[in-house]
């Protein structure tokens, strides 16, 4: 069977099945198996694409090239580790009485459907379908955010829904404008939203229209990426949703939204020829980075803080892609990968920590290293990794971004330096006493599923010291494609 | 390094050992005369030393080996200082071992040991003396070094022998910088040798003493060594001052005639110098300990002025 079809079908079918089946004993296993299956299919698909080059599926509706296949693999991988993590985590939540069986069913089903929408958004060749999938991704996660049905989680979900809904509406307007511009070149063949066709004629697209379209798309999808000042939904949703959801929101949804912007940027760049899109992204990136860094220092809730850290990194990545060129794009892609691995690892550790301490308030979490050294070290190393400490890989991409900025946009470096310094001071200052220090809590008897944390961190560590050549080739190709 | 040179070197050391107490005695005598007191005999310091060497050492219970060891080190340091300062001749085999900067180091080493020894017994006066000594030390050292810098710049050398040779035997040049340096050096020597107005070697008044406070617990041969070392230090400073600022008469080679002349010149200069020292001590009052920074600050100022004058007026000669 076609690997691509499998990759998309497994989450869709299992999501529907989980919704239909209800909370049975085998449901968690099905969830896990489905994620595993998706991952295996995507891994094989990746191998196939790497070996045989880009391909279409379902006519020209889906298109897998070296840019998105690596996001597909990453998405499936994080999806898998999140399922592994969420098994014991959700069981504990249920034991604590925070969730009912019905909600667990909702969670599993929606999780798989969310994976489906992500994968569809990544692989579609049609910018309209991309929009549809992005909207669907919002819809599948909005109920997950309010899973606990607390006042705060409802509020968070409502804001998430409204803000992202409005944002995505703007993206639709942008898509319409894009279609409008494309139709003038490609004619009414129905191919005018197909990226593979668009990219061929990107130089002929009307610059004025493309500029407006890009603005709408950037503001629209940028809302989902969490670009300041459109980011306001993000911390609330991350903090109030269940931790696995925070992990995938941070690790995957933001990436996919950014991916959508990147696809459009290629077209805008081709049409406008003046670095307009790049400057806009750089501006947004810097603003986001700075704003998020200053938000960090006043956080009290641990998940909220790491949500802001995600915003910060999205800003950095946006900045990198804004700079453009093979090096910066390479760095941006690398940073996206590493950020999703690291951030989801952190959320796993945070989830366990918060569960053990029974709170998300950082002042009440102390001495994790005594309560559970594995969680403590996981959180510590994850934090250090996300802060860009070598030898973790995040440093590698930050190294490239900073040095590239130094070379081409030296004016931006003081801002970058300030923001990174402030972020470091804020995050590390909060995490250190949580991990170290005295605590009155006792060690808990049962061990958590902490393997995903260390698998992620090991990967991140490896990328800091050694990026396998095939990965490099692949990144290079993707970076070149982005222009 | 010739045999005769070595001999003259040892002779210079022996002369220092012999003359140092005499100088102290001479200063004391002059001072007594100036103060209308009956003067002790000129040889009184020798009697003192002899008496002290005879006495048993009374060692406090808490004394550590460092306490016993320190007087010898101090004595050795002062001896070394006397060995490298050209008292009679500039051709000293030991002189290359230490230049003026190292000389400051030697005094510093002695100071460190005596201050540590003062703290060793653990009495209130000992530590008090130790800290005051170190205080004077860090105030005096920069000034002394600036003085040395001034002279060193004139001769393009920090070696004492070379400086003296340059100053004594070069063309006669009026060096106003040397006047400043000389004043600064005088100030520093008063402080370093525990003299009025910084310290009073004749008092055991608790609140004012510095040097005496440090050696309160010493007795017998240890005390004798320390007193002798103090005399040597005075001698060394005097000789250094004389060598730097009144270098005439110091022999360059090791001819017997030159050295004889040098000895007589030295004794004459020391006699005058000692009398002047007594005079200055008499007409000044001891200042409070916290006026000492001002006193030595002035010395430092003079030294820096000397340096600047040297750089401004004399450098492009």
């Amino acid at each position: 069977m076609d690997l691509f079809v499998l990759t998309l079908a497994i989450p869709l079918v299992s999501g529907l099945a989980l919704a239909a089946a209800g909370e049975r004993a085998w449901a968690p296993n099905l969830n896990l198996i489905a994620s595993l299956g998706t991952f295996l299919a995507s891994a094989l698909l990746t191998a196939e694409i790497v070996a045989a080059g880009p391909r279409f599926a379902f006519g020209e509706m889906f298109f897998i090239d070296s840019l998105n296949v690596f996001f597909v693999a990453l998405t499936a991988f994080v999806g898998l580790t999140t399922s592994i993590f969420s098994g014991p985590y959700m069981r504990n939540e249920r034991e604590h009485g925070r969730l009912t069986a019905a909600r667990l069913r909702l969670y599993k089903s929606m999780f798989q459907l969310f994976m489906f929408t992500m994968l569809a958004a990544l692989t579609t060749n049609n910018l309209g379908i991309l929009w549809v999938a992005m909207e669907a991704a919002t819809l599948t996660t909005v109920l997950l955010v309010s899973l606990y049905r607390t006042a705060a989680s409802l509020e968070a979900a409502w804001k998430y829904f409204i803000l992202c809904g409005v944002g995505i509406a703007q993206a639709l307007f942008g898509t319409i404008l894009l279609y409008f511009a494309a139709e003038r070149v490609l004619g009414e063949t129905g191919n005018a939203l197909l990226w593979t066709h668009l990219v061929g004629v990107k130089g002929q697209l009307e610059p004025t229209v493309m500029a407006l379209a890009f603005v709408f798309l950037l503001v629209g999808y940028g809302t989902k990426v969490g670009l300041a000042p459109l980011h306001n939904w993000l911390p609330d949703a991350h903090a109030e949703g269940p931790t696995p959801v925070s992990a995938v929101l941070s690790g995957l949804l933001l990436n996919v939204a950014l991916y959508a912007i990147l696809r459009v940027k290629v077209l805008a760049d081709g049409a406008i020829q003046s670095g307009f899109a790049g400057s806009l992204m750089m501006g947004f990136g810097l603003l986001t980075l700075t704003v998020a860094a200053f938000f960090l220092s006043r956080q009290k809730d641990i998940k909220r803080m790491f949500a802001y850290s995600s915003i910060e990194h999205m800003g950095l990545i946006t900045f990198a892609f804004g700079m453009g060129g093979p090096v910066a794009n390479f760095a941006g892609l690398l940073h996206m990968t590493l950020h999703s691995l690291t951030k989801s690892a952190i959320f796993f550790a945070v989830g366990h920590a918060a569960q053990k301490c029974g709170t998300q308030v950082m002042e009440d979490i102390r001495g994790l290293i005594k309560i559970n050294p594995v969680i403590g070290w996981g959180l510590m190393l994850g934090t250090l990794a996300i802060l860009g400490m070598p030898p973790f890989g995040v440093f590698a991409s930050e190294f490239m971004i900073l040095t590239h900025a130094m070379k081409h946009h030296p004016w931006a470096t003081p801002i970058l330096l300030t923001a990174l310094g402030v972020a470091f001071a804020a995050i590390f200052g909060k995490v250190q006493p949580m991990v170290f220090g005295e605590t009155h809590l006792k060690r808990l008897p049962h061990a958590p599923a902490i393997t995903p944390v260390f698998v992620h961190l090991a990967l991140v560590l490896m990328m800091g010291l050694y990026i396998p050549p095939y990965l490099v080739r692949w990144f290079h190709e993707a970076a070149r494609m982005l222009g | 390094m010739s045999i005769s040179g070595l001999l003259w070197q040892f002779f210079a050391i022996a002369l220092a050992l012999a003359l140092a107490p005499l100088l102290t005695g001479w200063v004391n005598q002059c001072r007594a005369w100036l103060q209308n007191r009956a003067a002790p005999p000129l040889l009184q310091p020798y009697f003192m030393l002899h008496k002290l060497f005879h006495k048993d050492v009374v060692l406090a219970h808490g004394a550590s080996p460092l306490f016993v060891f320190a007087p010898y080190v101090v004595f050795g340091c002062m001896l070394l200082a006397c060995a490298i300062i050209p008292t009679l001749s500039t051709d000293l085999p030991f002189a290359p071992a230490a230049d003026t900067i190292a000389l400051v180091g030697v005094f510093g080493l002695a100071r460190l040991f005596i201050a540590l020894a003062a703290m060793d017994i653990g009495t209130s006066f000992g530590t008090l003396g130790g800290r005051r000594e170190m205080l004077i030390g860090f105030l005096a050292e920069p000034a002394l070094l600036m003085v040395i810098f001034t002279t060193a710049m004139i001769s393009q050398s920090t070696s004492v022998a070379t400086i003296v040779e340059t100053l004594a035997h070069g063309d006669f040049v009026i060096n106003p910088s040397l006047a400043f340096a000389g004043i600064a050096f005088t100030f520093v020597s008063f402080a370093e040798n525990a003299r009025v107005p910084v310290d009073n070697p004749a008092t055991h008044l608790e609140l004012t003493m510095i040097h005496e406070a440090m050696i309160l617990e010493y007795s017998g041969r240890h005390l004798a060594l320390i007193e002798w070392a103090a005399a040597l230090k005075l001698y060394a400073y005097s000789c250094l001052g004389l060598a730097l600022f009144f270098p005439w008469g110091i022999a360059e080679g090791d001819s017997a005639a030159g050295l004889l002349l040098a000895i007589s010149a030295l004794i004459a200069k020391l006699a005058v110098g000692g009398a002047l020292l007594a005079l200055i001590e008499t007409i000044n009052a001891k200042v409070r300990i916290f006026r000492a920074p001002e006193f030595l600050g002035t010395a430092f100022l003079f030294a820096v002025l000397g340096l600047l004058v040297r750089l401004l007026l004399e450098s492009r000669v």
Binding site: M210, T403, G437 | F53, S64
Partner: protein, 669 residues
Amino acid sequence: MFALLPIDVLLIAAGTWLALGLAGLAAPRNFRYISKVLFPLGAAVAVLAGLTSLSFLGSGAETAVLAVGLPGLPFHLRLDNLAAVFVLLLGFAAAGISVFAAGYFRKGEGAAPGLLCLQYHFFLAAMLLVLLADDAYAFMVAWEGMALSSFFLVTTDHRHAEIRRAGYLYLLIAHVGAIAILLCFGLMASGSGDYTFAGMRAQSLPPFWASAAWLLALLGFGAKAGLLPVHVWLPEAHPAAPSPVSAMMSGVMLKTAIYGLLRVSFDLLGEPLWWWGVVAMAVGLATALFGVLYSTVQSDMKRLLAYSSIENIGLIAVALGLTLLFHAYRMAALAALAMTALLYHCLAHAGFKSLLFLCTGSVLHATKERSLGRLGGLIHRMPWVAWLALAGVIAGAGLPPLSGFVSEWLLLQGFLFSPGLPHPWLNMVVPVAAAVVALVAALAGFAMVKFYGIVFLGRMREEALKDAHDAGRWERAGLVWLAVLTFLLGVLPTTVIRLIDAATRQLLGAGLADKVREHGWWLLAPISPDRASYAPLVFLAVIAAAVLLGRQLVHRLYHGRLRRSPAWDCGYVFQGPRAQDTAEGFSQPIRRIFEPMFRMERHFPTVRDEQPYYSVKVEDHFWNWLYLPLARFADGISRLIIRLQGGRIAIYLLYSFLTLIVLLLVARP
């Protein structure tokens, strides 16, 4: 058979350290295995590294490339003479410290020994890699690895909030410094985009950008070295760490920062500008004076030593400034003189400061006490530690005939010739700077007397000190090793200078070795014996002869009788150990004379006090002048910015709306 190059040996050494660290994790709680097997092995590796670089010194550079790192930028490594001097320092200092550590870490104290072993050996390996790195990425990875591993070591005892705070401050400043270094590399590579050091060497920057890069380097490396005003972490972190770690940080890690500065200033940037020298000298003088003044007023023995490290780093920076000046004006011989002073002081400080920190470790173990006010008289209980510490104290006070004096002597010699500078202002101001150096040296003597006198001499201020025990065998061995190094560095300056001359020659194209070699191995005369000379062996021999002869003569001519009695103390009857000076009392003159330099909080007792007490707390002005305003500023900004997140969805929508409208109105391609 293929021959192992020195660089290979060093790489193997680094690898072995990493392996030893991981081996510690294999049995993290097996105490004997870790302390008596792994640490001594680590010491052996350190000796090997030291010997390797010893044999290497003087040969041409060797390079290697490791197959890790970034794509297109694998780890480039290079062993040249500059690196070799610092590897020598690292190896020999680390050997002593590791041996000491084998006896130092005790059961049941703080973290699991395996973890400590891991962090410690990673720290060593990272430092070695810093010295060997030959491209920006490898350097940064090693540099931050060094910061990270030492951070974990500093917070070994993380139960105390102040230790955590110290660690936090340390890592924060280290990280900011690292970003500055990264930007410096970025600047240096900006033309070619080649991030290897070879690439940076090959290109020359315009003066403006070269200066920017140099200033960034000064900031970045200064943050690690402890230069003003980014020194604040140092007096917090060094006391917080376990003593071997303090020794390693102070003795070795600070020197890696100096290494970095040298590398950037002389190797990578090409021709330095003269005013860099002025900046370095000004910063160095300020740092040295600040460090020594604060060192004299401390009441915690490790803090005292930490500030003393700041002082020494300041002196090294002064030497750097002098070198830069001379080099910029092409006075090669003098530049070589100043550079030799610099390198010599690095070596000397590594020896004596490690020694002193280790001594405080032994004291800490024996007494559980760090506060000077509760120590005293330990020379009676801990003679080994006390006598070995004396060597460190003499060297630390910069007195002959030990190591600290040689470098200060060389430095002052350098100053003496600064009037030759062809610049009307400089040749006047620079010699005066020598006076500050002299003041610093004298004050260092004050601090050292205070340290030694209060800890080891006098009477025991607390009853509990009677149970203090001397250092164990391992600790003693480590101390002896470092003391011997300090002694050798003190009495064999010509030999050492001939060793480090290769580095001077590499950086400046001129060296002292030829001159030095002319006058025999015992006489140090960098220019000519007429101008200046120093022969520590003769020096030592005269003093030793005087001591021995004096003793023999006195005993022979008179007698050697000795009686014991209570101390006299001017006849005062009450003589408790409390009557001795406290640490605060001892430094009272300094506080008084240099009052404006300190920020003091004092409490004076009054007549009516029920329980009268006196207390004084000395704080760093820089907190109030720089750090607190910065923190307040950042806090103020973040207070403003968080208003963005006011909770109202309407406002959020408004942001989105306004962003859109603004962009639509301004977006013109």
